[in-house]
Symmetry: C2
Subunit: 204 residues, 2 copies
């Protein structure tokens, strides 16, 4: 059985199948992808050099649909622009929560993500924030988004009141939202705190 007249596989199809598997099962193997696509495991290596590269292809796919910063810029304050950008960034993760550990465990090599940093640098620079701290600020915002993305898969059991020793924590858990709603509210709060802090940091 030699090569088909039209290719059965592509990096895109492989990445899409892998995303689907992670969404459904929390993981993926080369064999599972191959089986889903009706092909042999070794066939994948005509399109991809390693499992790590499949993860990078998944990352590209997740972030390529993110709207560019320009589409949000008209008439908005820099705070609104940053807020919108970070929310899109987090929402891209949130669309596939179980994928997050794979993406955060591995070094970024996708240009789609570098574009996000580019956009942030442009917005923050135009806002008048000190150039000497620009990368630090970007890192803070990036860290918060990534931490919040990981929070999406924290099961409510982590906040199991049964394990909390202090009355304060038990009470806090009892009056909190659960699941996705809780994660969303926390993300918005963090955004408020960070942007409020940046506003008093020399921005115009």
């Amino acid at each position: 059985m030699g090569r088909p007249t039209t290719p059965l596989l592509s990096t895109e199809r492989i990445a899409a199948t892998a995303i689907d598997l992670v969404d459904r099962t929390g993981g993926f193997t080369i064999a599972q992808i191959a089986k889903t696509l009706g092909v042999r495991p070794s066939s994948l290596y005509n399109h991809v050099t390693s499992k790590a590269q499949i993860i990078e292809a998944m990352r590209s796919r997740i972030f390529e649909t993110m709207p560019a910063a320009e589409s949000r810029a008209t008439g908005a304050t820099w705070e609104q622009q940053v807020r919108s950008l970070l929310r899109s960034y987090r929402d891209a993760f949130a669309a596939h929560p179980r994928l997050v550990p794979f993406l955060t465990a591995q070094t970024v090599s996708a240009p789609d993500v570098m574009r996000i940093y580019d956009d942030m640098a442009r917005i923050l620079s135009a806002a008048g924030l000190p150039h000497s701290r620009l990368l630090d600020i970007i890192t803070v915002l990036d860290s918060f988004v990534i931490g919040s993305a990981l929070d999406l898969i924290a099961p409510d059991e982590v906040w199991d009141a049964g394990q909390a020793k202090s009355a304060e924590l038990r009470e806090a858990i009892a009056s909190a939202d659960s699941g996705r709603l809780r994660a969303d509210r926390s993300f918005d709060l963090g955004l408020d705190l960070l942007l409020g802090g940046l506003a008093g940091f020399g921005a115009r």
Copy 2:
């Protein structure tokens, strides 16, 4: 060859060896741990039920050395207490950067970590922050610490100026610290921004 007069293994010895392997190589296998301890792979299962449980044992070991909040409380403002707690929390990660992806990929079941949340709840509650938002605030701080911990293994290549398209980002990269120093400075900045924001949130 039956059981030895005195046990060759323990959960602690297994976890310590695994941490050492991750520090040195970035990963660990059951076989590597066994070889290091002069034992057969199957022997580990007399002390541990799975690889996941080894990771939890590593987590315990990493955080058990963290000082309790009480030891920092005397005469300090709540901001100083939170700052000190979060810094210890992050430093525990920072002592083993390559371990971070393993810890963040897996759900927490270690009481040592729950203790950190307990301490945060107690400090923030005493500070007068609204009880209804306590868990959200803890989540924000936790997300930031975890995101910052993952930033520790981001190689400087991520910030490779060659890939940055905008002049703003290229300039920011050029004038930034690199490696651990950059990560430390960013973490301190994030702490300032978040605590500053919390101060204007109804805290006394």
